[in-house]
């Protein structure tokens, strides 16, 4: 829940909190992102593009789950939906802008319809309704073979580099992903930092408090879910740019679960965490495959557990954990950082108690 608010009034800003350092870092990052695709190998470019795709999907999931606290196990469905719409639009030679808009809006409408019903329920019931999306989505995609190409799926290669740019296809695709994904990230960041983000946080924290403050939990849950679906649709469009092929397998339940895992591993309710989640989602299977294909699942599970064991707050909490560790080893006589008591079953953890009762209350 701790929002990374930086208050500039603080007397002792550490160096990376100064505004000019942040702007400089941003400029450097932009330059790197513009130059890098031209220098890197085709394989690296494609990997980064895939990371971009799934980072956007994880970002969408973060809006509904990380920021608003509604467990969604169906995010992959919206990615798949967006991908199918894109593929269908491209095969039928729609205008590409129109295709993009429909690929975003159609999943958003689907998400809105699901949310209108699901948000009436609390806690785990939402999870169950959203679990249904990939579970039912796969046979449904096979059934509607006129639109989806059945089990064989659809493949389209529409994002070829135009002549004038002089770029290779992989570079062009990476630029597209970076621009569309970057805009999505920027918009989402503004959303969750502003009025809506605060409303989401209250709904996540305590629904009764939210309604007493005039914030309708129902309305904001529906909103968060719709936005998550919209972002899912964007990631589906990007998916077709990069992977150029979709089949019922795209929206399988296993992938949806992995997205949730990636979100928590990256860092819940965090923009940077969403990117880290995307990196995790793409790189870890690649890594484990490279080590030994027969051990993939075993290693993935082990890595997931190991990361969460060390960093229950996700990868994004790594710097915080490091500083805390350093502070503790440096000044053992100083005031000890408070929230480091190991969880004990008998202790009356007042902070941890609230979400638990909340959850049981809605189930």
């Amino acid at each position: 829940m701790a929002s990374p608010m930086v208050s500039p009034q603080q007397g002792t800003l550490s160096w990376w909190q100064r505004p000019w350092v942040r702007w400089a870092a941003l400029v450097v990052l932009l330059v790197v992102l513009v130059v890098a695709p031209l220098q890197l190998s085709e394989f690296t470019n494609q990997t980064i593009a895939r990371i971009g795709v799934f980072a956007v999907a994880v970002l969408g999931l973060n809006v509904v789950m990380g920021y608003t606290g509604q467990v969604s196990l169906g995010q992959i469905f919206f990615l798949g939906f967006g991908a199918y719409v894109t593929a269908y639009g491209v095969t039928n030679e729609w205008n590409i802008v129109l295709t993009f808009v429909v690929a975003c809006v159609a999943p958003a409408v689907a998400g809105l319809l699901v949310a209108l019903a699901a948000a009436r329920l609390g806690g785990l019931a939402i999870a169950m309704v959203t679990i249904a999306l990939p579970i039912v989505g796969v046979p449904l995609a096979k059934r509607l073979s006129d639109f989806t190409g059945g089990s064989e799926g659809l493949s389209t290669a529409f994002a070829r580099a135009p002549e004038w740019s002089g770029l290779f296809d992989d570079q062009w695709q990476l630029y597209l992903v970076l621009v569309i994904g970057g805009v999505t990230y920027l918009l989402t960041r503004n959303l969750v930092r502003g009025k809506y983000g605060r409303a989401f946080a209250i709904v996540k924290g305590n629904e009764a408090v939210a309604s007493s403050m005039g914030i309708s939990p129902y309305r904001y849950k529906v909103l968060a879910f719709t936005i998550a679906s919209l972002i899912g649709g964007v990631s589906g469009f990007l998916y077709m740019i990069v992977i150029q092929y979709t089949s019922p397998e795209t929206l399988s339940f296993g992938h949806s679960i992995n997205l949730v895992a990636a979100m928590v591993i990256g860092g819940s309710a965090s923009i940077v965490g969403s990117i880290l989640g995307g990196i995790y989602y793409v790189l870890v299977p690649q890594l484990t495959n490279a080590v030994d294909p027969s051990l993939t699942a075993l290693l993935q599970g082990a890595i997931l557990l190991a990361v969460l064991f060390v960093l229950p707050g996700g990868l994004v909490s790594l710097p915080r954990a490091l500083t805390r560790g350093r502070r503790r080893s440096h000044a053992s006589r100083g005031p000890v950082a408070p929230p480091t008591t190991p969880p004990s079953t008998t202790g009356s953890g007042t902070t941890a108690e609230e979400p638990e009762t909340e959850r049981q209350g809605h189930a």
Binding site: I135, V136, L140, N206, V260, L295, A297, Q300, T345
Partner: protein, 293 residues
Amino acid sequence: MGKFVQLVVDGLSTGSIYGAIALAIVLVNQATGLINFAQGGMAVLSAYVAWWQTTHGVPIVVAILVSILFSFALGAVVERWLMRRFERGDPDTAVVVTIGLLTLITGLCGWLWTYNNQQFPSLFPLGTVSFLGVSISIRSIGTTLVIIVAMLLLQGLFIGTKLGLALRAVAINPQSAAFSGLPVGRLLMVGWGLAAALGAVAGALVAPQLTLTPGMLDNALVYALAAVILGGLTSPVGVVVAAWIIGVLENLAAVYVDVIGFDLKVAVPFILIFVVLIVRPQGLFGRKTVVRV
């Protein structure tokens, strides 16, 4: 008519499997407030343990009993050394830890015993019995009966013994239970162990039918979760009844409703959930819980 009865009995048998896993999920949820996605995976691991013994000449009944004991220990160990660290933290993290555990166990089974289907010997003969002119498979009846017996035993444990009383106390309020001197940590281990043991029974019963693979119970887990929500998290009996309803309805819908068919029968429990939850958000048999602000 004969087909109908056969479908209903088969539905009850698969429903029993879902019910057993659902009950295991409820046991864990009541004790620790989280949903264990690895419940099915742990059951598969214990089924593999039983199968591995049979390949070494151990009789099937003994093998299954040993695997149930193994599962109990596994559940307790997982609670103590893995889940306890996350039980008081963010519930989303705890859920993802169980997802990681599921992946780990699936990978472990695949690595040790390959991803190929293994033939698991059946506990029951494969024939059918004729009853009032309807033939019903012995396996379906046997599966249903064994699960019912297991549940009655569990119910007896919870209601009739001191251990059961302590377990219920921990589930209702861990802090008060700790204050009155109950070893909460150890009781949580027992709770997880019992849940895993129940899952092991389900795994051993369903393995001959589905043939043993690391992902054998992935689908069953989804149905079990559906049953949990449909029945209501607070009602063990309701969960089992919901699982039977799901098993039977799904079978009937697949055969008698053309639009659904065998490929979309998985949608049935979710349509059911959707309708039920709109009317009764606490589930069919659950109690409405009140949140203190």
